[in-house]
């Protein structure tokens, strides 16, 4: 156990800090500024697309999770935007690197990294959520094309996307995991309709996408035909690799402590209310536990050790913790906590409420808490799968 960084890493941190200082003023903020120019600058310095080979438009460094973490820490500390992080970059690019043809790699990876192609993901369907393999969007052969009909849901950037990586059923007669193919095609094709999907937060963070006789060249398939399920699982593996704030809960906790020290009720600081304070302390312990748990997994990764069940619990516990932090903020704020969307007296622009709801969405999405618990018990603890149901 040694939480200090070796000189090599301290030097790297210094370098990142210097970059942040030099370029901080010109970085894009929110909707302002040129994100693509920023992305190019980051790639050329190795702060984005760091481990993608140079020939495909990346920086070409060796993987080093510690350096990735240092980049993230320093960018967050300086309030700088990280590199682009859409599903194309975080999910499609690693998949193409692993399973794409040379032509696909050349054609798509560079422009994707530079933000010239925005992608969306076409996996979930209304009838295929937790049970993704039961998807029914069909692709029927017609000459050199597939003709696609069906519907996708939870497609987050569909309205802005240039292209989609999409799971479709090409083999209607095969068992459900074996008839799926992984296609790449333009979102500008005729027959594609995108409808915003409004959620409980009141915003449309997602979309539904409808396909009516959409024609896609048969060659735009990644991996073998009928192997899309396995290609997609390679992609799903990368979903967990998306780099965000390595300690989002810690950031929220800090905001909660500030809130408790600054908000008053009947002229008394919330921090002086022992019941709320005790609850804050319980959450603080959980935040620390998950923070250190993250360091433990990071170290296991550095050492090439398999952390086993310790890795499998992260989504379940992390999402729940974020949800609980928001729930606490709302309770501590009381009536102020239910204000929303542009109301006078609104605290933190209403983000506590947004988080409370959105985090519940995250608990549900990408494998509900129930599915997570199945995974933890089966893969982590070696417990048996549920027996298949007998035919009725």
């Amino acid at each position: 156990m040694d939480l200090s960084y070796s000189p090599e890493y301290e030097a790297f941190r210094t370098e990142v800090r210097a970059f942040a200082k030099q370029h901080g003023a010109s970085a894009p903020r929110g909707a302002m500024g040129d994100m693509r120019a920023w992305q190019k600058l980051l790639i050329s310095n190795g702060y984005a697309a760091r481990t993608i080979p140079k020939e495909y438009g990346g920086f070409g460094a060796e993987p080093d999770v510690l350096k990735s973490r240092i980049i993230a820490e320093e960018f967050i500390a300086a309030g700088l935007p990280m590199g682009m992080a859409g599903q194309g970059i975080s999910m499609l690019v690693p998949t193409l690197l692993e399973l794409g043809s040379e032509e696909q790699k050349k054609k798509f990876i560079g422009p994707t990294l530079r933000g010239e192609i925005i992608w969306c993901q076409g996996y979930s369907e209304p009838g295929a959520g937790s049970d993704l393999a039961s998807l029914t969007t069909r692709a029927v052969e017609d000459g050199d094309d597939f003709v696609i009909n069906g519907q996708k849901i939870w497609t987050s950037t569909a309205a802005q996307a240039d292209m989609i990586f999409c799971l479709v059923r090409t083999e209607a007669d095969k068992p459900k995991h074996e008839g799926i193919s992984y296609l790449l095609f333009s979102m500008k094709m005729p027959g594609i309709e995108v409808r915003p999907l409004v959620t409980m937060t009141g915003r449309a963070e997602f979309n539904e996408v409808f396909f009516t006789d959409v024609r896609v060249p048969k060659k735009d398939i990644v991996g073998e035909r009928g192997q899309g399920w396995f290609v997609a699982n390679a992609t799903l593996k990368h979903e967990r690799g998306m780099l965000g704030d390595p300690n989002q809960a810690g950031t929220r906790l800090k905001a909660l402590i500030d809130l408790m020290q600054n908000e008053e009720i009947d002229g008394r600081r919330l921090m002086d209310n022992p019941v709320f304070r005790d609850r804050l302390l319980k959450l603080q312990a959980r935040v620390h536990a998950m923070e250190f748990h993250g360091l433990r997994l990071l170290t296991a990764g550095l050492r090439g050790e398999d952390p086993g069940v310790a890795r499998l619990i992260v989504k379940l516990m992390g999402c729940e913790l974020n949800h609980q932090l928001a729930a606490f903020a709302i309770d501590a704020l009381g009536e102020l906590g239910i204000l929303y969307s542009g109301s006078p007296h609104l605290r933190a622009s209403g983000t506590w409420q947004t988080s409370y709801m959105f985090d519940l969405g995250l608990i549900i999405g990408g494998g509900t808490a129930q599915i997570q618990k199945n995974i933890i018990s089966e893969r982590g603890l070696g417990m048996p799968r549920e027996p298949k149901a007998a035919k009725a």
Partner: protein, 363 residues
């Protein structure tokens, strides 16, 4: 010894529920939510059933029923996330008038409140939940100054019942000079709250009895009503979750046959049903055992809110992604429960009041 509803009570609640099913389906809620101060057609249908006058004595045009009857109505309104005034305008305002109104004031206001002609907002948040941002009203020479936040049933109110810092209760006309009205938008778009800023505003004092005791009873009644609202909303969410789980298939089975989903549903109903008994008792005690009223109202509110939060979240989870979207509108119930939890005091504050009420600690 009879701890249950009379057949009259069941019939009344049934008829409110049936009426709301007809006039207040989800589409109607969507249309009103955040756009109309309240759904006047829905209110009109409720007026036909006498709901706004439910606790108002018959001599003033009301039904003269008990607080338990009002709780049954509140439950029905929560069940349908009905975007209409009730807690403040039909329960708390009449209680204020009955408690400390002069005969003239009663005659003037009660019949109009009962008939839905008049809507009364109620400004007692500082007394019930504690003062935020130094809010509070002072009364001087019949004029009010200061700020009252989180005024219930603010949207479309013609008059306001306002508590001052010394538990005096006042009626203020919504059009009074010097009164600034600011809408506050909350997660719950079915109920329109707001803020009142008073700059030497003319007010009518309600002074014929014990205003402090009346204010306390208003708070108790309001807490019971909010608890009943959560009971109704939560009960409906469970029904929706069970129905969805019986229908939605994944992995070749309806998800309601998975033990994990079944147990979530079992836990929800096991938590919520005792809340019903607690609310019935609290409402009954409000009328019959006033000495227990503060404590029981607090427990009904705090406990039902805790359970409500669990039910709102869990029922949403059972719906999977659909629960998170706007498509099924489940979030209207979720947010209504969220509103009920914080209004008139969150669980911690309300439990503190229960401790004081039974002399465990000083105030």
């Amino acid at each position: 010894m009879e701890f249950g509803l009379t057949s009259d009570q069941k019939m009344m609640q049934d008829s409110i529920n049936r009426t709301l099913e007809r006039v207040c389906p989800l589409e109607r809620v969507r249309k009103a939510a955040g756009h109309e101060p309240y759904a006047s057609d829905v209110l009109k249908a409720l007026v036909e059933l006498g709901v706004p006058g439910i606790v108002t004595p018959e001599e003033f045009g009301g039904l003269g029923l008990s607080l338990l009857d009002a709780a049954l109505a509140a439950e029905a309104l929560g069940r349908h996330v009905a975007p209409v005034p009730f807690v403040a305008s039909s329960v708390l305002a009449p209680l204020a008038l009955i408690g400390v109104g002069s005969d003239a004031q009663k005659k003037m206001y009660l019949p109009k409140l009962a008939s839905g002609e008049l809507i009364a907002g109620v400004a007692i948040s500082e007394q019930a939940a504690g003062a935020r941002e130094k809010a509070g009203i002072t009364a001087k020479g019949g004029k009010l100054s200061g700020k009252a936040m989180f005024v219930l049933e603010f949207g479309g109110a013609n008059i306001f019942i306002v508590a001052d810092k010394f538990a005096g209760l006042h009626i203020v006309d919504a059009k009074a000079k010097g009164l600034e009205k600011i809408s506050l938008s909350t997660i719950d778009a079915t109920r329109a709250i707001g803020e009142l800023n008073f700059d030497n505003v003319e007010a009518e004092l309600l002074s014929s009895g014990n205003p402090a005791a009346t204010l306390e009873r208003m708070i108790d009644a309001g807490r019971i009503m909010l608890a009943a609202d959560t009971l109704g909303a939560g009960g409906r969410m469970i029904e929706k979750a069970v129905a969805y789980a019986k229908e939605r298939k994944q992995f070749g089975r309806v998800i309601g046959s998975f033990q994990a989903v079944k147990h979530l549903c079992a836990e929800m109903i096991a938590e919520l049903e005792p809340c019903r008994s607690l609310i019935w008792y609290a409402a009954y005690a409000f009328d019959e055992f006033p000495g227990q009223s503060r404590r029981m109202a607090a427990h009904a509110k705090a406990h039902t809110s805790e359970v409500g939060t669990f039910v709102a979240r869990t029922a949403t989870e059972v719906h999977g992604g659909m629960g998170f979207t706007d498509l099924l509108g489940l979030h209207y119930w979720f947010k209504r429960i969220g509103f009920d939890r914080q209004a008139l005091g969150g669980p911690e504050k309300v439990r503190h009041d229960a401790a004081v009420a039974q002399g465990w600690i000083g105030n």
